[in-house]
Subunit: 192 residues, 2 copies
Amino acid sequence: MQSLKDRIRAEATVIGTDILKVDHFLNHQVDVDFLQEVGQELYRHFQDEPVTKILTVEASGIAVAVAAAMLFHVPVVFAKKSASLNLDQDTYTSEVFSFTRQTSYLMKVSKRYLSQEDHVLIIDDFLANGRAVQGMIDIVKQAGASLAGVGIVIEKGFQEGGRLLRQQGIKVVSLAIIEAMDESHIEFREEQ
Amino acid sequence: MQSLKDRIRAEATVIGTDILKVDHFLNHQVDVDFLQEVGQELYRHFQDEPVTKILTVEASGIAVAVAAAMLFHVPVVFAKKSASLNLDQDTYTSEVFSFTRQTSYLMKVSKRYLSQEDHVLIIDDFLANGRAVQGMIDIVKQAGASLAGVGIVIEKGFQEGGRLLRQQGIKVVSLAIIEAMDESHIEFREEQ
């Protein structure tokens, strides 16, 4: 998605060789007009799939998932990261290690909201090591649902998450894949 | 909002006299078509205000805030509930007690995303004791911004949050206000 790459190149801040800050339009402050373009682009890539649910994980995936789901006209289910008193006890659960936070958490989805009837599109804002997406795939499998694919806004192509998913035969669409970056330079993977 | 009240009456589960479960359409699974109606209704109530930012708090406020912001064409800023390595160190911070989780957390917003130029609409899915909204108001004040008001999907009118906010002269719009509830009955406050 050229407008996304342009925006990353013009506006993102790289810290070291690992942290890409786009929190002024994607994951702390959200530019909702741009978000709608992102949703349209994800829809374009998966519109031929008979998607019944979009699955994401709180918190920063929610905005992207909602923007895409408005075009599919299917519900968004967002996995919760911590047990809440109000959450059903009867959940699909997957343990996920977060490199950002350097700790593991339990990702949970109520069994009411995913079943073997569902064809699930997983959406998230970032793909790096891929642990959050693998946790969501684990939950899709526990539900006996099928997987339409994985739609990502920004993939860090120099980390292993995307490669491991594609090796499993999963359709992964990332609207921008960063091949390499440092504080003065961002290099994108060429689209196929 | 009559369609919201109808839906709560037909579909919500009440546990005891305090917990209203609507997580099949609002805060775990999100019905995005209905969410757009909710966003339109919030927009209708605040469209005469010169809103520049919509402020919410992760996670379940994000979907509602995004749906409304798409009509205002202003950014959503979502306050974070825990310090992340990727978050700016330079933040507005407010300590908030969560009755749901029976613990306090730090609510944080990067100083980059709210300033004295901003006229802020606060949006959240639920209003009960009002601690999360008070935390967001505290952050709006720290930024020197002005407050357009508070837009809520479901208010528990039998808890004190809404009353305390209205006593401060704040415009609070809740699309459904529950006056009383138990496992067999939900009573809504009549609209003025």
